[in-house]
Symmetry: C2
Subunit: 405 residues, 2 copies
């Protein structure tokens, strides 16, 4: 055959592997490199015995149902159990009818994008924001407009200015996407005031909010307000998504959408064509775990476990990094984000040197930025490596930064 190019959709013609992802794949094969580049939870935390036991129990008790086709929105009983869990842990009411079980939160992001976005529509995000979310939005043709963040999350005064400008330009804003707690990549958490202001803006300008909330279920500090934005929503404007990837295990691929009443049905109809429904067995496993106190006990153990790793990273940064940096002190999540305020510091260009010479890897922060900025930033993961590797990795990175290569 001459060429496959002519068979591709314009999407597929233009889609490219991320250079970073390729590089990271190479890094994984180098055993002497300490990688702070990943985004994986520590598999030590996976409740293997519980999941194995529940898998067996589910097949024994639900038998045929656990292996059969099931509803596109998710098994009703699972949604019912999940609705109670969300009320209990995240403080908002949702009807099982407005819950959709998805194949991980990545599918939630794509499904929502496909249901809401037409090419040219605007999606407002934090700048920087989660790469795979930006990818899903762009795949559906979104025009991404980023709003700056500081340690209290998205700067909502700038958000309002941005919304006003876009409205005056006649742009169609489809939603505002935020990760309010322990944001990926920046590690920031939105303050109570900012969350309230965000909802006020959504109400005032008649907008939807997409709240992505994988990290709030356990945090490393007491007394931090992690109220869900959806719990503040009085006009049914917030689409809430989350996942069990960080609280149980990512390999089960179970996420969910708590949707505004008016969108649930459309999301269901679109999901039918994406994968008919998410795995029945895995849904039942989740429901069985949620019915017990195991989930709360498990989540309670996660916080101190990861806190040690976060503290190790922050302490090492304090010790080994030069002073002219800005970095987040995350109350939860998996990442610390660093801006190096040294003229000419380019984390993208330096990655190869970091890996080859200093034997340490990170994710350059540039690709998370919506405006091409962030060449001087890096995302550092503390959830996966053991504490001694975190310290040594940060020491090596400190050398790189001080030597500028």
């Amino acid at each position: 055959m001459n060429s496959y190019e002519k068979f591709l959709s314009s999407l597929a013609k233009n889609i490219k592997a991320s250079e970073i992802r390729e590089l990271l794949a190479v890094i994984r094969t180098k055993k002497d490199v300490i990688s702070l580049a990943g985004g994986l939870p520590d598999p030590q935390t996976f409740p293997k015995e519980i999941i194995a036991k529940m898998a067996e129990k589910v097949v024994a008790e639900y038998g045929d149902y656990s292996l059969q086709y099931s509803e596109t929105k998710g098994i009703y009983e699972v949604r019912e159990t999940l609705a109670k869990f969300l009320k209990d842990i995240r403080g908002f009411e949702t009807s099982p009818d407005d819950l959709l079980i998805t194949t991980g939160s990545q599918q939630a992001l794509y499904l929502i994008s496909r249901t809401l976005i037409d090419p040219g529509d605007v999606v407002i995000t934090e700048n920087p924001s989660y790469l795979a979310a930006l990818g899903a939005f762009k795949m559906c043709g979104a025009n991404i407009v980023g709003v700056k963040i500081d340690e209290h999350g998205m700067k909502t005064d700038l958000l309002e200015e941005t919304v006003k400008r876009l409205v005056s330009e006649g742009k169609k804003i489809k939603f505002i996407y935020v990760i309010p707690v322990s944001q990926n990549p920046a590690g920031t958490t939105m303050s109570s005031e900012r969350k309230k202001h965000l909802i006020e803006i959504a109400n005032k300008y008649d907008l939807l909010v997409l709240e992505d909330d994988p990290y709030s279920y356990f945090v490393y500090e007491e007394g931090v307000d992690v109220t869900a934005i959806k719990a503040l929503d009085t006009e049914d404007r917030v689409i809430y998504i989350s996942t069990i990837s960080k609280i149980l295990a990512p390999g089960l691929r179970i996420g969910w959408i708590a949707s505004p009443k008016h969108l649930s049905r459309k999301l269901e109809l679109v999901k039918q064509y994406l994968d008919l429904h998410s795995p029945t067995l895995n849904q039942y496993i989740l429901a069985e775990i949620l019915k017990t106190s195991l989930i709360k006990e498990h989540v309670r153990k996660l916080a101190p476990f990861y806190k040690v790793k976060r503290d190790t990273m922050l302490k090492a940064i304090e010790e080994y990094f030069p002073d002219d940096i800005w970095y987040t002190k995350p109350i939860g999540g998996l990442f610390v984000f660093v801006y190096v305020n040294v003229p000419g510091f380019n984390a993208v260009k330096l990655l190869n040197t970091a890996v080859e010479k200093y034997k340490v890897a990170y994710v350059p922060g540039k690709s998370f930025h919506t405006d091409g900025s962030g060449e001087n930033s890096m995302r550092l993961n503390f959830s996966y490596p053991p504490p001694e590797m975190i310290e040594e990795g940060i020491r090596r990175l400190g050398e790189l930064i001080k030597n500028k290569g």
Copy 2:
């Protein structure tokens, strides 16, 4: 809020629940109605003990890996095992690098559509064809052109005429979609000659073929040629998809694509945004089963089990239906398809009467047709109901047809 309409993509604005699907949902709640409308495998056939045992084994042996994030294309070991299985059972060579594990074959259909189809592109299908495939193609903007079938499958002489015409009109044909063995809905199987002719046409006109093959892994007759079209392909033009839904259990949601070498990478990049990867645990369960002889033993038991049900349906049709019908005698799969050659017979309009008066349900065949025809057709499922219900259901349907309502 005034209205959610303005937030919807044009896709979501236009997407509609199928009236049939809605009606079938109502029917499921009526206990006195015999439904021949479903498409479910008989859960009695699910190897529950094997799956429960393997789930436990996988978590015990692969531990952390079985619950962690994994590769977008699927776990390498799983693809390797699957490649051997496909060589063994379906007779074609495929590299693990060109296999992608999908979240059911529905995701395979959507993923391929999204990777190949731009709005206005042509997809050629059998007429009638599988509803959820037609839906996925249309969702990506395909212009569907159907080619008539008879008991030997797609009429390839008509296919060639159609291709010639479309080419002369300057249309872009993205692929020819066929279910060669025990087609859904029609129950037909392509003859050896037609399969060869199809490949010749693909080669001659430089086209891709999408072969959907859920049903060939066990059939009810000996000596039928069920060679995969992909096994006849010498120019790497066939995209082959299948699933474990009919040979093990649908609730695990595992399907796969055996892709032409030049498409694998693009499919992988698009899948990243759809759901990152399919469930790790479920993939390992499949691989463990494929490694043993359990799968072959299991599949060997399925054929006689379903043959009894098929025979029951065919015998009952012979006995209770009038003569002026045309129906398929499927060698495999789950369905018999019936055209009633009585002027004015409208299976869509009669469904309500069938359910309310005769207490029997079927799927009207019209929605499977690509050209608005087929009002006089019905799809009848024999895999799910027990034999006595099949017989009684067909008897009731016979009454309906004879009485024309």
